[in-house]
Symmetry: C2
Subunit: 420 residues, 2 copies
Amino acid sequence: MQQTLDKTVEHIGRRAKKAAYALQSVSEKKIEAALYTTARLLDTEASSLQKENRRDLRAARDRGLPPAMIDRLTLSDSTVAAMARGLREVAAMDSPIGTEYEHRVRPNGLSICKVKVPIGVVGIIYEARPNVTVDAAAICLKSQNAVVLRGGSEAFRSNRALISLFKKAIAKAKLPSDAVQMIPTVDRRAVELLLQKDDLIDLIIPRGGEELIRTVVEKSRIPVIKHYKGVCHVYIAASADIDKAVGIAVNAKVQRPGVCNAMETLLLDAKLPRAKRRVVIDALLENGVALIGDSATRKLSSRIKEATVEDWKAEYLDLRLAVRTVKNLAEAIDHINTYGSHHTDAIVTGSKREAAAFIQQVDSSSVMVNASTRFSDGGEYGMGCEIGISTDKLHARGPMGVADLTTYKWIVYGSGQVRG
Amino acid sequence: MQQTLDKTVEHIGRRAKKAAYALQSVSEKKIEAALYTTARLLDTEASSLQKENRRDLRAARDRGLPPAMIDRLTLSDSTVAAMARGLREVAAMDSPIGTEYEHRVRPNGLSICKVKVPIGVVGIIYEARPNVTVDAAAICLKSQNAVVLRGGSEAFRSNRALISLFKKAIAKAKLPSDAVQMIPTVDRRAVELLLQKDDLIDLIIPRGGEELIRTVVEKSRIPVIKHYKGVCHVYIAASADIDKAVGIAVNAKVQRPGVCNAMETLLLDAKLPRAKRRVVIDALLENGVALIGDSATRKLSSRIKEATVEDWKAEYLDLRLAVRTVKNLAEAIDHINTYGSHHTDAIVTGSKREAAAFIQQVDSSSVMVNASTRFSDGGEYGMGCEIGISTDKLHARGPMGVADLTTYKWIVYGSGQVRG
């Protein structure tokens, strides 16, 4: 049984590798056409897609999955329309593939440059949301990578229906048929087997909760780009405009608390007048945020519970917030670099000097000045779409889009040169 | 004992991390000054350095190390001078750190860009050659990374002496004193302990034989950039200028056969006239190259031994060469992608169309047209120096220099924007 499963996974990997080689030399026009066709199929075949989705939803309800998960699993009319819109946006983007750069001519006449090429085969491992299927397949196809998708078992039928639309579009555009594949089983061991195929898969991107991502990193022999969690900070400096500070702090925590770019710890500068600090605290409390703070902060309100060091590391993902009073910018930066997750951190300040020091010294994938951490997102950054957010430092950092799924080769043109 | 060693390694890692944070905001001028001072110290303290080196050499001879290793270990006057010259070259290079790029202003007024920043702490694990100590420390320092060096035990005293020169220069330039450190023991377990410190070290670059690199990859929890080996190909197409083909084939194999960018397999197109194929074979035989070939190639000379599939995968690193006759360009590309190491592969051709197909379809870090594979090297590519060659596809590919030891952060400037 295990052996049959391994054969299945191996076979998918080999076909993906072959498709990846073929994709290296297809035209951008064909890729574009396949993406537009998929978008059109989403429009025209929405009802049969939603029929498959309802089967997933019924099974999910029977299994008693929580409403939040049911919500993420649902392919409503507006979700389907948004997926089609996303596909058209990706299709319309300029392709980075084939771009030559860093040209140089050496004294011996060798002409050298780098050229952007696809990475090869990308494996995406994710949880319930079927829209990840469309985003990931679209970004991989646009960057001329073959993709192997492995979504959550809850969304199996929805994902299979979505991929069949891609398959139709790929066939119509005469692209390699294995450019987009999914693991055709909900057996969890298939993921472990996939993660061993470092000769066939070039990159793994896991998307989901911290536990899923830790498991993938631990078991993978293939390079993984990921973020474990988002422990994002807003530091309000003494020079901050207090109205902006309140707006940013409330937005960063309240607008969508369950996502990785929501604020988890607020840092208040001790030199910020006490009255202003209270305004911030009161605004958060009024917005239903439960506060956990250090002793200095707790003096601002009797409604703040006592924090431990675990709170500085916590990703609450709900309307709870850790608050700490720091004595200056240096202590704020030190707190962020020590307890944060290197995802996204913001300063609210009126001082250019403070902003510059914060930018330079905070070791995070996104550093913001006078803006809400919630903007840390491929769409908000103008990348059209994103395939994930990286808190790694190698290859890609922060929101990742089409260009992040490319690598390069060095091209050397000679006329018979040999090395002396 | 193991516990004490772990404490030592942990302590080095912590100091490196702290130095790395401090290095984020030092001036380029200080870095330059430290590199020039180290170069000057190499000039003025060459004799005490060579005294330490002689102690390593005596021990190496006593242990009966092979002459090739003794040779690589020796710090002759010209080796020391070359190291000093290399340092001055690195010092004089433009620094990538702090460069802002990909600026954009979003409709909501957010101003977004990426800025080049150091990776953090780089660990270098290498074998006998003490000049790697200088190259690696210089490139890491230039890119404002802290470095932890672990050289071969044979070169322990030489490396310690070289690092003490860096330490003096770093102190003089008032840079963080732990910017350059070495593991102060030859105990092999220290490497294993270092490779577990993924909270302190950001990147590992191993340099040495395939066995060392496989061990490092297997044991490391930290991302590794590396190449295992160089199985480089030269494919001679039917349209090749035969004089260029002979020059390139002989140079790629003979000029320095023991290195990773030397040719290991020659591919001859069956449509290349038999007489021309013989000219290539004879030239290689005349240059003392032992040939191993497939049956079609063996018809060209009785001096060609029979090849097995193992020869297509072999990295001989000496004057042996596998030769295969392929029926066309597609078969050559397929051979290279199947058996090669994705390091450096060359085509000799008179056809632009063939060259373009080879460039597009060969999945290697460097692809060359009418030039010897021996040019695949940071110095030859005009990068000033190199810290290694990557056959990985993520982060850096091919020769790696100062710019490859950087990552980026996203910087977002707002004026109080919140997400709607």
